[in-house]
């Protein structure tokens, strides 16, 4: 397996930015709305899904500069991959379940997934429409 040093650096830099962005935004949302439901992680995952859908729509419609490996490594694998998270989502769902809030736990799973998939579709359609 050949390791591409430049690609690894792009993923590291993107992951660093994405992680800090997630920590900042999810923290701000949690402080504003409260922490009885994991809104912070939900907002991060749904907005990240909208952006990744938009980027996929852009690449599919316009191709060009965004279809490069370097852009994918930095923005998609690094920033967006670092920004969105399954681990916090899973941990917060488990916390709700063990705290006797099974309905909220189920709502978090169904809501995050449904809103996330809808956000990918909306992002994709928006990009395709704007660039067509």
């Amino acid at each position: 397996m050949v390791l591409d040093f430049a690609a690894c650096m792009l993923v590291l830099a993107g992951g660093f930015l994405g992680g800090i962005l997630r920590f900042t935004i999810s923290g701000a949302v949690a402080r504003r709305i409260g922490e009885t439901f994991p809104w912070g992680t939900l907002v991060v995952n749904v907005t990240g899904d909208m952006v990744i859908g938009g980027l996929a729509g852009t690449v599919a419609t316009a191709g060009g500069a965004l279809a490069t490996a370097a852009f994918r490594e930095f923005a998609i694998v690094g920033v967006l991959g670092g920004y969105t998270t399954v681990s916090s989502f899973a941990l917060q769902t488990l916390s709700l379940a063990v705290q006797g809030e099974p309905r909220r736990a189920a709502l978090n799973v169904v809501g995050s997934t449904a809103l996330g998939l809808a956000a990918v579709g909306i992002g994709f359609a928006l990009a395709a429409r704007l660039l067509a």
Partner: protein
């Protein structure tokens, strides 16, 4: 400030580990990119469940808040990815592979939740030893 740096560095390392998981799983087991995304999400959920419980209020390990955030919000958050999982599901469905799309997202979510729960159960077996 320290917390943000800890999260950023953890997320950068997590993102790189995720990036390297794909070629490793392909070389070792012949598994494609969908399996790689599934693997990081399930593994990251297990690690956060284990670590959060071990270092929690009545856990066995006492670690600094920055260390806790480095591993949980940082590494696990950067290692796992909600956006790639959503985009893969969307792409599969858009290509008409509805069954695969449903199985992929359903299994990813179910196994991630099972993994975070298993991590917690395992950590609870290592209760703090009571000193005389």
């Amino acid at each position: 400030m320290m917390l943000y740096l800890a999260v950023g560095c953890g997320a950068a390392i997590g993102a790189l580990a995720r990036f390297l998981s794909a070629p490793m799983l392909l070389a070792l087991f012949g598994l494609g990119p969908l399996w790689a995304t599934g693997f990081v999400n399930v593994a990251g959920s297990f690690i956060i469940g284990l670590f959060a419980t071990l270092t929690g209020p009545d856990g066995r390990w006492l670690v600094k808040p920055a260390t806790r955030q480095f591993v949980m919000s940082g590494f696990c958050g950067g290692f796992t990815t909600f956006s790639a999982m959503s985009l893969d599901t969307f792409t599969l469905a858009a290509d008409g592979h509805w069954g695969v799309a449903g199985a992929y997202i359903g299994l990813s979510l179910a196994l991630s939740l099972a993994a975070v729960w298993f991590g917690r159960v395992l950590a609870l077996r290592f209760k703090p030893t009571v000193s005389a």
